[in-house]
């Protein structure tokens, strides 16, 4: 087996056994990026020099057996929405072309402290707005399972990198499904923690009340390891929770026997592909066989989650993206006769169509006279969705459903129809609005394309989500499926 095909934990063992060095491992991944990078287009920037420097430092740490952490020497990819000091960070947008942050995101600092190796910045939908990665300001990403298909979005680059072997693991960000949906579409594990579990400091904001950083990995145990490294309170993020972080690996193997698992009937949405539904039903049966009790539950306000989301997220985005005016950093159009004209030219040329659409939606929703009807109303809906989850979690321990109603669709299939594109996130959005956590794990293939099972656990019960996901993974082989670009085990 090639090094780039392995998991964090395998590689960690090999590193501490001195079987391999981090430099060898990093070179293996970098070489693979050279081999398949043109096909996936997963990276916007490969930081080869930085990676090798970090790998050498990690090897030194491993050699001297000094402060060896689970991620020491492990090559990781970072979604381009994460600020890395002195490394170009553009959030997939042309408007941030040339911007090099003078500081690193808290999660980046934490990974650096672990001794992780940064491979580069992965492609994504511009400012994380999209479900196919086709809204990247630079180029679309191709699904490693079928290059004519999208990898999902917005963390499509991170998903494709992990699924193709161009990274051992990656960080993504999830505002309405942007970790889970691409994970499902590329056959990997993607975990959106509860809002407040992971610091957002240094995450280029899309919708501040919904954004959350999370791990994208080859299996569930790797997800636990990566989350462990980044979770926990950060004094720089007032919305991060002071709740202590449990040991996620400790409870991983406890199984689902005796657990009550709920199946929200609303999550079998219209338009769900039969193969997807079949896989989910099979997964549910498997949990039953493992001793879990299955119960149908209702989350009655699921149908209004999507419209509420498309008020709240654009409203916050319209404000968050106001700072990109070309006067201080990034792209500046030039040629404006006065400051207002210069703002307009810069924003006209710097932002893509979907970002502009959402800025307009959000600006409208917050306008005087419309605020009550839109933004305030959407916030009320959000409260109802939070209550839906609270009620469901009095009856069951976790919820099961599909991550995406479809498998990866062809590039260009939905670009002309924003609403069809928005519907991709119909079963991932409630978890963002509802302050709960959700993980997507591979649960089957349809015509050679991956399907994802979504497991939702109550707020700050990441341990529970991981435990259920691990039970499923242990009983199945889906996570061992490899995309053609990853290559067969050699």
């Amino acid at each position: 087996m090639n090094l780039f095909q392995r998991t964090i934990r395998d590689l960690h063992q090999m590193l501490i056994d001195r079987e391999i060095s981090s430099v060898e491992l990093t070179e293996s991944v970098l070489d693979h990026i050279v081999n398949v990078g043109d096909k996936t287009k997963a990276y916007l920037l490969v930081t080869k020099g930085l990676a090798l420097r970090q790998a050498r430092a990690a090897d030194e740490r491993l050699r001297s057996k000094r402060d060896i952490r689970p991620l020491t020497g492990i090559p990781i990819a970072l979604k381009d929405v994460l600020c890395v000091k002195n490394v170009a960070s553009t959030a997939g947008s042309k408007i941030l072309k040339g911007f090099t942050p003078p500081y690193s995101a808290t999660v980046v600092d934490r990974l650096e402290a672990e001794g992780a190796v940064f491979l580069g910045k992965t492609n994504c939908d511009e400012f994380a707005m999209g479900s196919s990665n086709e809204n990247s300001g630079y180029w679309p990403v191709h699904n490693p399972w079928a290059l004519d298909r999208v990898p999902g979005g917005s963390s499509g680059g991170s998903a494709a990198a992990v699924a193709s072997g161009e990274a051992i693991a990656a960080l993504g960000s999830d505002t309405g499904g942007s970790i889970r949906q691409p994970a499902a579409l590329t056959g990997i594990v993607g975990f959106k923690p509860t809002y407040g579990r992971v610091s957002r400091y240094g995450l280029i904001a899309f919708a501040s009340s919904l954004d959350q950083i999370g791990p994208m990995t080859r299996d569930v145990a790797d997800s636990a390891v990566l989350l462990q490294a980044i979770a926990g309170h950060d004094p720089c993020d007032s919305t991060s929770s002071p709740k202590p972080v449990p040991d996620y690996l400790a409870s991983l193997r406890e199984g689902v026997k005796g657990m009550r698992l709920g199946v929200p009937k609303e999550y079998f949405v219209a338009g769900m592909e039969p193969a997807v539904e079949q896989s989910i039903r099979d997964a549910i049966r498997l949990f039953e066989q493992q001793g879990a009790s299955i119960e149908e539950v209702s989350l009655p306000h699921s149908d209004v989650a999507l419209p509420a989301y498309y008020i709240i997220a654009p409203a916050e985005a319209s404000s968050n993206l106001a700072r990109y005016d070309g006067t201080r950093y990034g792209f500046q159009a030039g040629g404006g006769r006065n400051i207002i004209e210069e703002y307009m030219l810069t924003r006209q040329q710097g932002f893509g169509a979907e970002v502009k659409r959402r800025i307009m939606l959000g600006t409208y929703a917050l306008s005087s006279g419309y605020y009550d009807a839109y933004y305030l109303q959407a916030q009320k809906v959000r409260t109802l969705i939070i209550d839906d989850f609270k009620r469901a979690f009095t009856k069951v321990d976790a919820l099961l459903g599909a991550t995406s109603p479809t498998v990866a669709f062809p590039l260009g299939a939905k670009t002309q129809d924003p609403v069809a594109m928005y519907l991709n996130d119909i079963i991932t959005i409630p978890a963002n609005l509802g302050n709960v956590c959700g993980i997507s794990v591979p649960c089957g293939l349809a015509d050679g394309l991956p399907i994802g099972l979504q497991i939702i656990a109550p707020g700050f019960r990441e341990d529970l989500a991981l435990r259920v996901a691990f039970a499923f993974e242990t009983a199945t082989e889906f996570h061992n499926g490899r995309s053609p670009l990853m290559g067969a085990a050699a």
Binding site: C83, R200, G202, T239, S318, S319, A322, I340, L366
Partner: protein, 484 residues
Amino acid sequence: MTAIATKYEVVVGLEVHAQVLTQSKMFCGCSTDYLTAPPNANTCPVCLGLPGSLPVINRRAVEATIRTALALNCEIPEFSKFDRKNYFYPDLPKGYQISQYDLPLSRRGHLDFDVKGEPRRCGITRVHLEEDTGKLLHEGAIHESQASLVNFNRSGVPLMEIVSEPDLRSADEAREYVMRLRAILQFIGVNKGDMESGQLRCDANVSLRPAGSTELGTKVEVKNMNSFRAIHRAIEYEIERQTQVLDTGGRLTQETRGWNDARGLTVSQRSKEFAEDYRYFPEPDLPPLDVSRTWVEEIRASLPELPAARRERFVTAYGLTPYDASLLTSTRPMAEFFEETVRLGAPAKASANWILGDFSRLLNADHNEIQDSSIKPRHLSKLISLIDSGAISGKMAKQIFDTMYRASDPGPALEAAGGSSQISGDAELAAIVEQVIAENAKSVADFKAGKEQALKFLIGQGMKLSKGRANPQRLDTLLREKIS
């Protein structure tokens, strides 16, 4: 003004912005020193609004705002939050200002002040907390300038907005209100009150309505007034301008006008049709604030004596006129100077007269503050005692005070005035003692009967006879010897 006042009623409300004197900025750890630091030296990703940065609330700034609100008799709700005020401007790096919209830290207070000794009360709508913006510098004149420079050192400095009710009825009242407010901010140590540097800024909403009407007229917001004088002049100008418009049958437009101090007039900046829609919404990066009652009570307990209370005390304890008491308490250092002078033995009325008269005149001429003068309470107290004892005349005292004021050390001038002419020789004093005993038979008898007080009176008479030049200790000794 009287003619106008009978026809129209003037309605003025003020919005005062006061920077909060904290070490670090509102939402980051940068220093608030924006006046002396090199441009953009005190900045970081947060106050520069860099992508991904997040604000963290400065608890001290919240505390200072609550302190101010309590001093202005406001209610402090248990729940408050920050909101985003969205607008584009090059000095606003995030494209929004973190401010407070519908749930400010405080509301419903009042401020008592007086106009020429007449008490007035103005309602305080709210005191809320927000962040200051950066500062733009233009090369040359703004209209011709090819480039503008931005200094973000001020960006994120905590700023309180103190909004008054439209309770003020003249330019005089508006000026007195701001002076009193400034005194309070200084008293409680939240702001230095410097208007020129922009630590304290004032906007006025001015409107007129027919006398007797209860409906508000069309309001005009006047900005850019950076002195008490400017506030007064701008409002006077605006009253006159609006009166003329109304008198000639015109209609006023709701607009923002800027005060041009050099030309002495207000200029239209933007009208309501072009008014911004700030699209306020709750700041999602900051959790709402729970303001505990314990905290509020702690802050209340730590408040010093406020100008209004001190003014009251000056009237009752020192017998000052409300007007003098009001002026003396207009700044904390002046009030403290006065009290210290009195404590050292000077009569209150004389102390007040000196401080508010010659002393203030000299200070004003030099744009100096009382606490920065070389004259200290002990000097003034000594000077007053020299006058009272008759050692020097009032006219001499004025000259001596002038010399003292200009000297880096007022001591020598004071010594020269009092010390050198003192009569200590027993021969000279004997004559005075004789005369005192001869003219005050009753007090002499009282002293003989054991009334110690009577001797003090006799010494006083001796001082008077000697025009204050007698050495009181020697007088004491000689009188005792002679009587007993």
